[in-house]
Amino acid sequence: MRNGLSRGTRFRSLLFLFPSLLGTLIFFVIPFGMIIYYALVSKPVGGEFVGFSNFIRLFHNRAFLVGFRNTAVLCVSAVTLSVMLALGLSVLLENALPARGALRTAFLCPMFVPAASVVLVWTVLFHHNGAINAALAAIGLDPVDWFHTWWGSLMVLLMYLWRNLGLYVLLFTSALSAVPEELIGMANLDGAGPVRRFFTVKLPYLAPTMVFVVMLSLIYSMKIFREVYLLTGSYPYDHLYLLQHFMNNTFMSMDYPKLCAAALVLLTVMGAITAAVFWLEDRVGRDLENG
């Protein structure tokens, strides 16, 4: 179809890709080869081939397992809640409200606040003597230990939602406004109520945006490590210990075979998730074309 373009265009357009391709090869692709090598030897310099023993060592490492579990729980709940809450807020914002734009901007604001700036406020809120516990005490409830119990996972999730929800709301509201009026009108004539109208008419139109939000929330749920690290340092208690803590600490102890094995495991898991997301994106696109 694009054969109409001359060979020259083909070549020159390749030049545009060159800087990015070169950088990506040097900084990401080629070193992955080194990682595979390191993951299979006993030590980085002069080591011998040890097969999968680094991986076996990794799967017996308690810190890795705890970090892996917490990160997985965080990702799954972050993705699910992102889609559900953002969709809910966008539907509410569809009402003819005064100052809709201002509300949307207010939700969007946290995205620009640097992690290091807001850590101060998180401390004020979640500290054992902090504002939330003071409020709980005022209504006669026991204080919550946010940093040392499973409530910590909730705290991380709250920090994540605060930072990222606005962006997803922005994406959903604009997708909602792109649903053709005729379709909604037709559904009204068919006597569909607001709930049915949402699920049968609007939701199919939102599907591509939903896939994009899933992708973004996967990316951003990994980045919430920054806040956790700045709040609690390299060795937090179990419920706040993420895979990233494990990787950083393994870096510091210079156990490269273990580190590379962990990176490969993470690469495989994320690769599988990515494949699933792209399969979904492809399907969603095709459904819309046919539907």
């Binding site: 990682i35 290091a116 003597n129 994406l171 939102l206 993470l266």
Partner: protein, 291 residues
């Protein structure tokens, strides 16, 4: 509609306004804290930052009683803060400027000519984009050792420039620039680079802005990279250093956090319009299909 419609809208407005205030609260608290004199801070947040035996419960204060710029004065005298601020600016601005440029070029290369090979390469970029930082950090570390950039600013800047996120977003957006416009200009004798700068970029202005903003916000908060790639403490940016300041001197910390937030706030105010436009249309949303 009628009366029940009005009540519902009132309820939704109140609900969303409260939620919006909650989203804005951390920023307001930071700025308010920065204008409080030392005694007032001790009175409000003494239970957290002050003497542990001070049992006055925390009081969140959104408006300082006796506003003062005393904290800012102290901050201005702190030479290391200013130095870190410049380090942060150097890293973030270089990554944003060069990264956005490299991404835009690559996106144009992907859009201008499509082949099986390029589709596969683009898929590769998308997979890379979804990889958590910790996976790519391991390759970055080995490459920085190999190139001799370890423990220099380039160790953090170079991998940041070649981030796949911008390539992904801009390629998705540029795919919507009408091919005919480009072809017509080419037949008029415009070179490929001219097509890129004069025809393609102006149409993708919002998306370029959106990528630049997201890159800036992300890197202004960089934590993982400097921790691993920069052993020299003085080369680490403010994003890592600020939390240490918080622990040492709570009085100045609020001002430090507020000042640190300002570049992002300015960019957000300046570029929000583009962000709304540029990221909205980036994935294949339903709007594509109507045209």
């Amino acid at each position: 509609m009628g009366k029940s419609g009005f009540l519902r809208r009132l309820f939704v407005t109140v609900l969303l306004t409260l939620l919006a205030l909650l989203f804005l609260a951390p920023m307001v608290l930071t700025v308010a804290g920065s204008f409080m004199p030392g005694e007032e801070l001790a009175g409000s947040y003494g239970a957290i930052f002050g003497d542990e035996y001070m049992k006055d419960p925390v009081k969140l204060k959104f408006i300082p009683e006796k506003p003062t710029v005393e904290q800012y004065g102290k901050l201005a005298g702190d030479k290391s803060y200013a130095a870190r601020f410049l380090v942060s600016a150097l890293y973030t601005v270089s990554i944003t400027v060069f990264g956005t440029a490299v991404s835009a070029l690559a996106a144009y290369g992907f859009t201008r000519y499509r082949s099986r090979g390029r589709r596969l390469t683009f898929l590769g970029f998308s997979v890379l984009m979804l990889m958590p930082y910790q996976v790519t950090l391991v390759p970055n570390y080995f490459v920085s050792k190999w190139l001799g950039t370890f423990d220099t600013p380039l160790a953090v800047i170079l991998p940041g420039v070649f981030s796949a996120f911008g390539v992904y977003l801009l390629t998705k957006y540029m795919a919507r620039v009408p091919k005919d416009t480009l072809e017509a200009a080419r037949l008029d004798g415009a070179g490929e680079f001219r097509l890129f700068t004069r025809i393609c970029l102006p149409q993708c202005k919002s998306a370029v802005w959106a990528v630049a903003l997201l890159t800036f916000f992300d890197n202004w908060s960089m934590v993982e990279g400097p921790l691993i790639l920069l052993r020299d403490e003085s080369a680490r940016p403010l994003s890592v250093y600020l939390s240490r300041l918080n622990a040492g001197e709570p009085g100045m910390a609020f001002a430090a956090a507020a000042v640190y937030m300002m570049p992002c706030l300015a960019l957000f105010i300046f570029g929000q319009r583009h962000l709304t436009e540029g990221i909205n249309s980036s994935p294949k949303t339903a709007t594509d299909r109507k045209t």
